[in-house]
């Protein structure tokens, strides 16, 4: 009984002591998550459309990008960009490397999500667009993609959470994110249980924010399609 009470008290104390450092780390984590997600969405659309509609060299390029970044490990990609790029004369801030690596990685998975959603739009829509003499790009832009976006949102939500989890890897290239701070504090105080539990809850909190945001987005996007006030 006393032990549990002591644990609870100690946890609160721990919490207050560690909070500032962890919040700093959380800020970095969120920065990298947001940057990575934006890049991922851009890469996914570019790659998906290149793969489906581009001339064959472009298609080949898009396919290679997708296969390589999906077929190798995120950590390997992160390390490669971090350790190897300098040899080619490209010097980037570690955070930039992190955003690029994670954005490219999740973007490759996202390309399949985009492709799947575009394909799922009913063929009749393409035919109607053709009958109205639209070019393929116009049809894609005005008719197909707007309808595809609603279907994309749940899988993108999952991918964004994957990206959030992947940001913990950047602690291994010395970026002071949430995981790095946790490790740091663990080394100095060895209050492992409390620190890591708190950190896990932090991640869960950020993940929940993403989930809620995606659900709201889905509702807004579906509104135009399904209902609408006369």
């Amino acid at each position: 009984m006393a032990f549990t009470a002591g644990l609870v008290v100690a946890s609160f104390a721990t919490f207050r002591v560690f909070l500032p450092g962890l919040l700093e780390g959380a800020l970095i984590t969120i920065q990298i998550t947001v940057g990575g997600c934006v890049l991922a969405v851009i890469m996914a659309f570019v790659a998906a459309i290149a793969k489906m509609y581009g001339p064959w060299p472009v298609r080949w390029l898009a396919n290679s990008y997708i296969e390589i970044f999906r077929g190798t490990s995120a950590l390997v990609q992160l390390f490669w960009l971090f350790f190897v790029l300098p040899h080619f004369g490209i010097l980037l801030e570690p955070i930039t490397v992190a955003i690029v690596a994670l954005g490219l990685n999740v973007g490759a998975y996202g390309a399949e999500v985009v492709r799947g959603a575009i394909i799922s739009v009913h063929r009749g829509q393409w035919e109607a667009a053709t009958a109205l003499n639209m070019t393929r790009m116009t049809a894609l832009r005005r008719i197909i993609v707007p309808q595809a976006i609603v279907r994309m949102i749940p899988p993108w939500g999952n991918l964004f959470i994957e990206l959030l989890k992947a940001t913990s890897l950047v602690s291994l290239i010395t970026i002071s994110d949430l995981t790095f701070k946790a490790q740091q504090m663990n080394q100095t105080t060895f209050r492992t249980l409390e620190i890591f539990t708190i950190v896990l809850v932090f991640y869960l909190a950020i993940a929940s924010v993403i989930t809620v945001a995606m659900r709201a987005l889905e509702e807004r996007a579906a509104r135009g399609v399904a209902r609408g006030r006369a």
Partner: protein
């Protein structure tokens, strides 16, 4: 058994199918089809399923490629281009130029669900013809007025009945001012009580505008009253064609008789 003695108006036919063949692998859907359609003519295409009737429309709308033969529109080849005195397969730009003369209304409407009725009818004129928005809006509302939906401009397709959606689809196709309108079984997906409103719009269209109309239909009564000519398709060829009185009243071909009696029995 394909006949090419179709009546043609003054000079060039509006549409000409010249020995057009379409196959899917081993299955031949259209077999060296010859068909001429005059400007302003209203042609009804009837026949059992699998006879190739829808394919005729889809090829004209460039939704399907052809395997052999040439389709001509207003004296120009649609599926091919003139090059050095010969014909080569058409490129995308050529297709788009000729395609602009043709419009189509689909069995399942294919309205854009994320746009209102008005926007559906404005989209193509603005995006394809480069029409300024205000002008497109005016034209769209006039057309929707004409099909009897002037009060539903801001409605989304999901808020409209099947008949209303199909009428929007007709208005949408008209907005591009095609010379040739294709109707692919446009009432087959409708509840029976909604069929009439769509047919009257088509009737109105035929009366008020000088459109060449090609329709695949099961509405025999409508075809009898509206069409100038009826073509009966069977197994990828035109088994018989002629004015409605002949086809419905005194069909010469045995298959035509069989089909019509089966349809009449189904009532």
């Amino acid at each position: 058994m394909s006949t090419s003695d179709a009546p043609s108006a003054n000079g060039e036919p509006m549409v000409r199918f010249e020995k057009v063949t379409k196959s899917y692998g081993a299955l031949t859907v259209l077999d060296e089809l010859d068909l001429d359609i005059a400007a302003g003519e209203k042609v009804a295409i009837i026949g059992p399923s699998g006879s190739g009737k829808t394919t005729v429309l889809r090829m004209l709308m460039t939704l399907e490629t052809i395997n052999d033969g040439v389709i001509w529109v207003e004296g120009e080849p649609l599926t091919h281009m003139q090059r050095n005195g010969g014909l080569v397969p058409a490129d995308a730009r050529h297709l788009r130029r000729i395609r602009g003369k043709i419009g189509m209304v689909f069995q399942h409407f294919n309205l854009f669900p994320h746009m209102t009725a008005l926007k559906n009818c404005m989209e193509a004129p603005v995006m394809v013809l480069g029409m300024p928005k205000r002008e497109a809006e005016k034209r769209a509302s006039e057309l929707l007025e004409m099909v009897g939906l002037g009060d539903k401009l801001g409605h989304y397709p999901s808020q409209l009945s099947g008949g209303q959606q199909q009428r929007v689809a007709i208005a949408r196709a008209c907005a591009m001012r095609p010379k040739i309108m294709l109707f692919d079984e446009v009432t087959s997906a409708l509840d029976p009580e909604l069929v009439g409103e769509v047919l009257s719009v088509i009737r109105k269209l035929g009366a008020e505008h000088d459109l060449t109309m090609l329709m695949v239909t099961h509405q025999m009564g409508f075809a009898k009253e509206f069409a100038d000519r009826v073509c009966f398709f069977y197994a990828g060829k035109i088994a018989e064609q002629g004015p409605p009185e002949q086809i419905f009243g005194a069909p010469k071909n045995e298959r035509t008789q069989q089909f019509l009696s089966a349809v009449l029995e189904a009532g």
